[in-house]
C-alpha cells in the first residue's frame, strides 16, 4: 500500500520554526523553513540533520515551498540554502518573494549588528537564496518535474500567504501555512476547492477558541486607545511592519477621521513606505473592496499617520505609536517600551500571538518585573492589554476548511499540544477521519488507497457502455471482461481478442465432447424435441434453438441425438462445447444424465 510520510522538524506541537517534511510518491518536499523567535541559540533553526547527517540537502529534497513571509515560516531559509546547502527550486508567491528578503535582511541586521552574533547568514546569502526562488501564481498548476505538481491557493492571513496543494500521481497533500477564514479590512478569506487530499496539514494556533465578533474586538480596541489618549497617556502597539499593522492602521485612520481626533499616530520608519508600495503593487492580493476602489483612492495612504522619529518618544502628550518588531523582543518597539513602561497612564496593546520567551509573552502572563541586559530590572507599570487581531483561523474556521477540502486524513501543526488534543477529538468525532498531531521529529505515516489509472481501449469501453444500456440495473450488474497488459510503465486494458493480437499470441481452443446415454422410446427427432422442451423450461434466460439440421443449440453448445446400434430405445446424446461455455456444458451433461422427465409430451 503506498504511503505518505509527514515529519515536522518545527511547529510540531509548537509555534515557531515551521518546517515540515513530506514524502509522497517517492518525492521529498520541505514545507516552510522558519525561525523560532523564542530562542537565541541553535534551537531557533529546525534540525536539518534529520534529512542528512552531513552535506548538502539538494539530493534529498525535490523542492522547498514557503507559504508566507513571516519569519517563523521563512526565517531559516538563507541558513538552509546557503549554510547547510540546497540548490534545488524554492517556490513562493510573488508578494512573498518580494517581501521575504526585506524581512530577512532586517532581521539579520538586528541579530548581527545590534546583538553581535557571528554564526548567522549574510546579506549576500539572502540574495543568493532568493535567486533560487521560482514565483507561483494563484491556482496555477506548476510541474516541478514529470510527476510532482503543486498549486497555490489564497490563504488570507498576510499579503501573499498561500496554501499549497501537492500532487504526485493519485496521492495529494494540502498544506495550509497560516490562514484565516474570515475576511478583514484589507485581506480576503482563505478558499480552497473540494480537492479531497489524502492529508490536510493545518495550523491550529487557535484550536480551542472561537473568536467573537470582529466588531466587538475592534470596538474594544478603539475604546482602550481612546481612553488612554483622553487621559494623556501614550499607546504603544508593537507590530511587524507588514501584516497586522496595515489592518490596524486602516482601523485607526477611519476612527480618527470619524471622531476628528488630533493626537498624532506614528508608524516607525524603515519598512513603512516600502510596505505601502508593496501593497499598491500587489493589490490583486487584497480583498475585493480595496481592489475595486484602488484607482480612485489608495487605502494605504494615511492622512493621520506619520513617520516616527526616535526623538518623538520623549514628546509630552498623548500619541499612538506602531513600532516593530511585534513581540517586543528587540529593536525599536523594545526601546520605546523601556521608555514608557514606568508610567501608569501609558498602555501597550499586543495585537497578536507572542512566542514563549519573548518579553511580549512575559508581560502578557502577568510578569511585572523584567530583567534587562546588564542586570537592570524594569518595573512594568503601564497597562498591558491583549487584543487578538492576528489573522489565524479559529476552531470554527478550521472545521470550515475541512468541510471545504474534504481530506481523508488530518494533521495538525503550529499550535499548543493541549489545545491540539482537544481539536483532534472534535475533528475525529465530527468528520470520522484520522487526525494526527506529531511532535518535532516524529513521523506520521498515512497509508493511501489510491485508484490505479489505466488506459482502456475505446472500442472496449464503447462496447461495454452500449451493452450496458442507458440505466444500469443495480441488481444485475453487467460484468465486463478484459485483459490488462502491463508493459514498462503503461497499463492498458483491452478486450481479450485484442490482447491476443497485440501480443502476437495464438488462441488455443479447448473443446469437450461428452456422450450421455438416455432411455427414451421415441424416435430420434422426437427425442431431440423433448430434450429441447425440457431444456427450455429449465434454462430460462438462455438462448436455446432447435435447428433444422437435427441439433439443439444451447448458447454455443451442440447437442445431437442418435440411436444406439443395439437398442433403439437407448439414445446416445452427443454434447459438444468449448471451454468458454464450460460451466453450462458441465451442468448440461449432469442434467441430461438424469434423464428426461416423464411428463413431457
Amino acid at each position: 500500500m503506498p504511503e505518505i510520510k509527514v515529519t515536522p522538524l518545527g511547529a510540531g506541537q509548537d509555534v515557531g520554526r515551521s518546517c515540515i517534511l513530506v514524502s509522497i510518491g517517492g518525492k521529498n518536499i520541505m514545507l516552510d523553513c522558519g525561525m523560532h523567535m523564542g530562542y537565541n541559540d541553535d534551537r531557533r533553526f529546525p534540525d536539518f540533520s534529520y534529512i542528512t547527517q552531513n552535506g548538502r540537502l539538494t539530493d534529498f529534497l525535490d523542492c522547498v515551498i514557503i507559504s508566507h513571509f513571516h519569519l517563523d515560516h521563512c526565517g531559516a531559509l538563507p541558513y538552509m540554502s546557503e549554510m547547510v546547502g540546497y540548490d534545488g527550486p524554492i517556490y513562493m508567491t510573488h508578494p512573498t518573494k518580494a517581501i521575504c528578503p526585506i524581512l530577512l535582511e532586517d532581521f539579520r541586521k538586528i541579530t548581527v549588528d545590534k546583538k553581535g552574533e557571528t554564526n548567522f547568514f549574510t546579506s549576500q546569502m539572502i540574495k543568493d537564496c532568493m535567486k533560487k526562488v521560482i514565483p507561483l501564481n494563484l491556482h496555477q498548476t506548476v510541474q516541478v518535474d514529470d510527476e510532482l505538481e503543486i498549486k497555490a491557493y489564497y490563504a488570507g492571513h498576510v499579503l501573499g500567504a498561500a496554501m499549497v496543494h501537492i500532487k504526485v500521481g493519485s496521492e495529494s497533500v494540502v498544506y495550509t501555512g497560516d490562514y484565516n477564514m474570515t475576511p478583514d479590512r484589507h485581506l480576503g478569506a482563505a478558499w480552497i476547492d473540494k480537492c479531497r487530499p489524502d492529508i490536510l496539514i493545518s495550523e491550529s494556533t487557535y484550536a480551542t477558541t472561537i473568536r467573537d465578533s470582529k466588531r466587538c474586538r475592534e470596538r474594544d480596541f478603539l475604546k482602550k486607545v481612546h481612553e488612554t489618549i483622553e487621559r494623556g497617556g501614550k499607546v504603544l502597539i508593537p507590530v511587524f511592519a507588514l501584516g497586522r499593522a496595515q489592518e490596524l492602521c486602516i482601523l485607526l485612520e477611519t476612527f480618527w477621521e470619524r471622531m476628528n481626533l488630533k493626537a498624532p499616530i506614528y508608524f516607525s520608519t524603515g519598512l513603512t513606505e516600502k510596505a505601502n508600495h508593496y501593497y499598491k503593487l500587489f493589490i490583486t492580493w487584497t480583498n475585493q473592496k480595496i481592489r475595486k476602489t484602488f484607482v480612485q483612492r489608495n487605502m494605504f495612504e494615511f492622512k493621520h499617520i506619520k513617520a516616527f522619529d526616535r526623538s518623538y518618544a520623549d514628546n509630552p502628550g498623548p500619541m499612538v505609536v506602531f513600532a516593530t518588531p511585534g513581540m517586543l523582543h528587540a529593536g525599536q518597539s523594545l526601546q520605546i517600551f523601556k521608555k514608557w513602561a514606568g508610567n501608569e497612564k501609558n498602555m501597550v496593546i499586543m495585537p497578536g500571538y507572542c512566542v514563549q520567551g519573548t518579553i511580549g509573552h512575559k508581560i502578557l502572563n502577568g510578569q511585572r518585573k523584567l530583567e534587562m541586559e546588564g542586570r537592570a530590572t524594569l518595573d512594568v507599570k503601564l497597562q498591558v492589554e491583549y487584543m487578538s487581531f492576528s489573522a489565524h483561523a479559529d476552531a470554527k474556521g478550521i472545521m470550515q476548511l475541512i468541510r471545504m477540502a474534504e481530506p481523508r486524513n488530518m494533521l495538525l501543526v503550529h499550535g499548543e499540544a493541549v489545545k491540539m488534543e482537544f481539536l483532534k477529538g472534535k475533528i475525529e468525532q465530527e468528520f470520522s477521519i484520522d487526525c494526527h498531531m506529531p511532535a518535532n521529529g516524529e513521523t506520521v505515516t498515512v497509508t493511501t488507497n489510491p485508484s490505479v489509472p489505466v488506459d482502456i481501449s475505446l472500442n472496449l469501453l464503447k462496447r461495454e457502455m452500449a451493452l450496458g444500456g442507458p440505466l444500469p440495473d443495480p441488481k444485475k450488474p453487467r460484468t465486463m471482461h478484459g485483459t490488462l497488459i502491463m508493459k514498462e510503465n503503461s497499463l492498458k486494458l483491452v478486450s481479450s481478442e485484442q490482447a491476443l493480437k497485440e501480443l502476437g499470441l495464438n488462441e488455443h481452443q479447448l473443446r469437450f465432447t461428452c456422450r450421455v446415454q438416455l432411455q427414451d422410446p421415441h424416435s430420434d427427432p422426437d427425442t431431440l424435441h423433448r430434450i429441447y422442451t425440457h431444456l427450455k423450461s429449465v434454462l430460462k434466460g438462455y438462448t436455446i434453438q432447435h435447428l433444422p439440421d437435427g441439433t439443439v443449440m444451447v448458447e454455443s453448445i451442440v447437442i445431437k441425438v442418435s440411436s444406439s446400434a443395439e437398442d433403439t430405445n437407448t439414445k446416445v446424446l452427443l454434447l459438444s462445447w468449448s471451454y468458454q461455455d464450460e460451466d453450462l456444458g458441465s451442468f448440461l451433461s449432469t442434467l441430461l444424465k438424469k434423464g428426461l422427465p416423464s411428463g413431457l409430451c
Binding site: H94, A98, P101, P135, N137, K274, H277, K280, L281, F282, I283, F294, V295, N449, S451, V452, P453, V454, D455, I456, L458, L461, E464, G468, P477, T479, M480, H481, T483, L484, I485, M486, K487, L493, S496, E497, A499, L500, L503, L505, N506, E507, H508, Q509, L510, R511, F512, T513, C514, R515, V516, Q517, Y579, E582, D583, L584, S586, T590, L591, K593
Partner: protein, 410 residues
C-alpha cells in the same frame, strides 16, 4: 516570450493570430515613431496618435520616457485622453506576474514596472477622461495627444482631426495595425496634416512561426487559408506564407473542420479493491497480463472499474433441494486461452495423477492420447485440445484442469 513547452508533441496545432504586418519590424517602427514625433515637435507642430487605451500605448510611453531626455522634449506635454485613461495606467502596474522578468524584478524593489508612473508624477504625462472639462482649460500646444479610436470614425480623435487637420505642421502617426490608414483618412481629405504610418504589431511573423513549428513539431497544423498564400498586396513574396510539409489544413470563415486525429484510449480508474485482486502473470519478458472481470461505472464522463459484487449466499431452506437444480449464473465469461500443451510434460502430469496407461498416436496435426483404463480420448494439436470423455464428470474436470495448467489465460 511565450512558453512553448506545453505545445510540444501536440497532435493538432491550430495556428492563428499572426501579425498583420509581416513586413514591418516592430523595433524599427518604434524608432520611426520617435523620430517623426521629435521632428514634428521641434518644428512647433502637434502630434496626434490614435490608439486603443491599453496595449501598445504602454510600450510607446516607455519608449518615449527614454527618448524624452535625448530629444529635448522635456517641456512638451503628453496627453492621454480616454474615459478609462486613469484606470488603464493604474491597472497596468498591478499585474507584474504577467510581465517580463526585468519588470518583475522592479516590482520586488519595490518600484512600479512601467515608467509612466514617473511621467505622471513629473507632470510630463497628463490623463483626462475626455476633452471636455479640465482638459479644455489646461490644454497647451505644441503637444502630443494619445486618444481613441484608431478607426478615426468616433471618439475624441475626431475633434483633434478637425482642429489640426488644416496645418501641415501637425502630424498624425498611425501605430495600430487593425485599420488601413488610407481608408481611415478618406473622409478627412483633403488633409494638410502630415501622415506617418508605422504600425506596431508584435505578434509572430512567418519566420518566427516556422522556427516555432520546427521546435514544437505538431503532427497536424491547422490555419486560416490566408496564411497559405502570400498576402494580396505582395503576391510575389513567397516568404510571407506558411510553407510546411505536410501542408497545413486550411480553414475559412464558417467552414466546419474534422480534425484528423483518432483517440484510441480513454482513462479509467481501477478501484483499489479490484486492483488488489488482480493476479498478473508474465507471458513475455517485461510484459505481464492479468484477467480483469469488473463492473464498469460511468458517471460525468469519469469511468471506474469496480469488483464484481459477490452474489448473496442462497438462504438455507427447509426443504432439501436437489443439488445442481439451479442453472449456473454466468458471472463472467471464461478467459481466452493461449499457448500449447507440450506432450512429454503432459504425459508426466497424467502419470502423477495416476493415469498410467496412455497410448500415444501421432497424427498429421499433433497427437491423440488414448487413456485406456478410463476410456477417454485427448486430442492434442498446436492450437487446440479436444477431450472426449463420457459419463465421467469428475475425470473430465480433472483432465480439464491439468490441460489448463499449461495454457495462458487472457
Amino acid at each position: 516570450p511565450m512558453d512553448q513547452s506545453s505545445l510540444k508533441n501536440s497532435d493538432v496545432l491550430i495556428l492563428t493570430g499572426l501579425t498583420q504586418m509581416p513586413t514591418a519590424n516592430p523595433d524599427g517602427m518604434l524608432g520611426e515613431f520617435c523620430s517623426n514625433l521629435a521632428m514634428t515637435i521641434r518644428a512647433g507642430g502637434n502630434v496626434l496618435v490614435p490608439c486603443y487605451s491599453s496595449g501598445v500605448i504602454y510600450d510607446l510611453l516607455e519608449c518615449l520616457y527614454q527618448f524624452i531626455e535625448s530629444a529635448s522634449l522635456g517641456t512638451t506635454p503628453f496627453y492621454f485622453i480616454s474615459p478609462v485613461a486613469n484606470s488603464s495606467l493604474e491597472f497596468s502596474q498591478i499585474f507584474a506576474e504577467w510581465l517580463c522578468h526585468n519588470k518583475q524584478t522592479k516590482v520586488y524593489l519595490p518600484e512600479p514596472p512601467f515608467p509612466h508612473a514617473e511621467l505622471i508624477q513629473t507632470n510630463k504625462l497628463k490623463h483626462y477622461p475626455s476633452i471636455h472639462g479640465d482638459f479644455s482649460s489646461e490644454f497647451r500646444q505644441p503637444c502630443v495627444v494619445f486618444t481613441g479610436h484608431p478607426s478615426l470614425r468616433f471618439g475624441d480623435v475626431v475633434h483633434f482631426m478637425e482642429l489640426w487637420g488644416k496645418s501641415s505642421l501637425n502630424t498624425i502617426i498611425f501605430t495600430e495595425p487593425d485599420f488601413s490608414y488610407l481608408d481611415a483618412l478618406a473622409p478627412y481629405q483633403p488633409l494638410a496634416m502630415k501622415c506617418v504610418y508605422c504600425p506596431i504589431d508584435t505578434r509572430l511573423n512567418f519566420h518566427q512561426v516556422s522556427k516555432l513549428l520546427k521546435e514544437v513539431q505538431p503532427v497536424h497544423v491547422v490555419c486560416p487559408e490566408q496564411y497559405t498564400q502570400p498576402p494580396l498586396t505582395q503576391s510575389h513574396r513567397s516568404d510571407l506564407m506558411l510553407e510546411l510539409q505536410p501542408p497545413p489544413m486550411p480553414y475559412r470563415r464558417c467552414s466546419v473542420l474534422n480534425l484528423p486525429f483518432r483517440r484510441r484510449y480513454e482513462r479509467v480508474y481501477i478501484l483499489p479493491e479490484l486492483a488488489n485482486s488482480l493476479v498478473p502473470s508474465e507471458i513475455k519478458p517485461g510484459i505481464s497480463v492479468a484477467t480483469v472481470s469488473a463492473v464498469l461505472h460511468s458517471k460525468d464522463n469519469k469511468h471506474t472499474l469496480q469488483s464484481v459484487p459477490k452474489p448473496p449466499p442462497a438462504p438455507p431452506t427447509k426443504k432439501r433441494k436437489r443439488v445442481m437444480e439451479e442453472p449456473p449464473v454466468v458471472l463472467a465469461p471464461k478467459p481466452l486461452l493461449s499457448g500449447a500443451v507440450p506432450l512429454e510434460a503432459f504425459l508426466a502430469t497424467l502419470q502423477k495423477h495416476g493415469i498410467t496407461e496412455v497410448k500415444v498416436e501421432e497424427t498429421a496435426d499433433g497427437h491423440i492420447l488414448h487413456l485406456q483404463a478410463e476410456d477417454t480420448l485427448i486430442q492434442l494439436e498446436e492450437d487446440g485440445t479436444h477431450i472426449v470423455c463420457d459419463n465421467n464428470e469428475p475425470l473430465r474436470t480433472t483432465l480439464r484442469d491439468l490441460v489448463l495448467r499449461f495454457l495462458q489465460k487472457l
